[in-house]
Symmetry: C2
Subunit: 229 residues, 2 copies
DNA sequence: AAAATAGTGTCTATAAGACATTATGTC
DNA sequence: GACATAATGTCTTATAGACACTATTTT
């Protein structure tokens, strides 16, 4: 930021929006958390949970605040800034930029149920998006694209699955997000060679079949990989 | 953006910064355009050209306006939104977010020289950055990382070189930005196989040696590639 | 033993990387 | 003809992708 010449014009200020795209895998579908708007504009239309940036708050803190108050998420999850949207005419109240964040949580981490502050949050598969308020469809599509891309060269799936998981489950998550089937043997060969996960001593029982070995991520913090999928 | 409940609190508004990282290749170095600040804070310290977002202006339009007024760039160049920075304490005048854009121009497109509005713009190799105002060093580093990454899977180099160019020159640009040497035969084999560029009938004369064939990009618009470098 | 999913290896095709010589201009 | 850069191809290695059967548990 460069300071302007000292003119006498009052500096322009604007509201800044914060929107959060919260992804989770539910019932073998990539879902996004939506709420129903209560007031105009777009009353009763689905939208992303969001807020206005408040004084002395960073956009990241604001996004975390949205997660807490709108989705009841308190545990740390993966979160990254997605993009700052400011298409003209996105909001009938006037133009202002909105900083969108993308977050990932295992579905077990999200308490659902309506409360006074939660405005009927609900999960919707991204392939069945309803009409969304503002430019939120664009935001969701951008987030899906980012998620798919990042899946290929980072380890961020760790944030979508429980601490321990079977390789079949991990592969399923990849298939759900990427939208196409993967070869079982190639997936295992490649994933194990990355060194990101390690076998535990546990087995997943409960099915009517041979139990599967449980794995876990060596590290549950974001990492970039040279080569991936 | 979700509208808040109709409280009686006045909505918070803030200034929004716009900063532009303008890259060009000059004298075989990746350079960034800096200006010298005239006023506090950080008077006489180098900084990125920037501005405050004005009323009824998109961030992209604001970035383009900065390009025009601070760097004299009128021709279309490659520009993309980089990231929105809002680290605490970046600006002693208070915290507000700043939307950074990254743009690329061939050095021939940039008229240099000081004018009333240009505050001594000058090109500085990114490997020899001086002290920068605010969090501009972080912004430049982020931009360099983005540029390097994008070089590998997009065709955006077209915006850094003249309309026609030799393969040696193109390779040089890649080497300069990536920071390491590339094999001549492998580079040509791979680049030509991508189908992004086409040989012209022209040759580059002027040296004391065998003239080199001139090529040009088939399309000078951004494109994503499946595989690249 | 039937059902259901777990788990495993080879072969082929493609891409990446190392590497040196000949060609064609200018002076 | 000396100089300077242009232009070109092969071989090796690594990675990606296709592909099918055996193993282990539950009921």
């Amino acid at each position: 930021m460069t300071r302007r010449a000292p003119t006498h014009r009052k500096p322009h200020t604007t509201q800044v929006g914060i929107d959060v795209v919260l992804f989770s895998i539910i019932d073998d579908a990539l879902c996004v958390l939506l709420i129903n708007r209560q007031w105009e504009p777009y009353a009763h239309v689905a939208s992303l949970p969001g807020a206005f940036l408040r004084a002395d708050e960073t956009t990241q803190a604001a996004a975390q605040h949205v997660l807490r108050t709108k989705a009841g998420i308190t545990r740390p999850v993966y979160m990254e800034q997605l993009y700052t949207f400011d298409t003209r005419g996105r909001d009938p109240r006037g133009d202002f930029p909105t900083v969108a964040y993308m977050t990932l949580v295992p579905h077990t981490a999200v308490p659902l149920g309506n409360s006074a502050t939660t405005q009927e949050p609900h999960w919707v598969p991204v392939v069945r998006l309803p009409r969304l308020a503002f430019d939120h469809e664009l935001i969701v599509r951008t987030a899906v694209a980012r998620l798919r891309a990042k899946l290929e060269y980072t380890n961020i799936v760790y944030s979508l699955i429980p601490a321990t998981f079977t390789l079949t489950r991990l592969q399923r998550v990849y298939e759900i997000i990427l939208g196409h089937a993967l070869d079982k043997r190639n997936f295992r060969k490649k994933y194990l060679s990355l060194g990101l996960i390690r076998a535990t001593r546990g087995m997943e029982r409960g099915g009517k079949q041979r139990p599967a070995r449980l794995y876990r991520f060596v590290s549950r913090t974001p990492a970039q990989l040279k080569k991936f999928f």
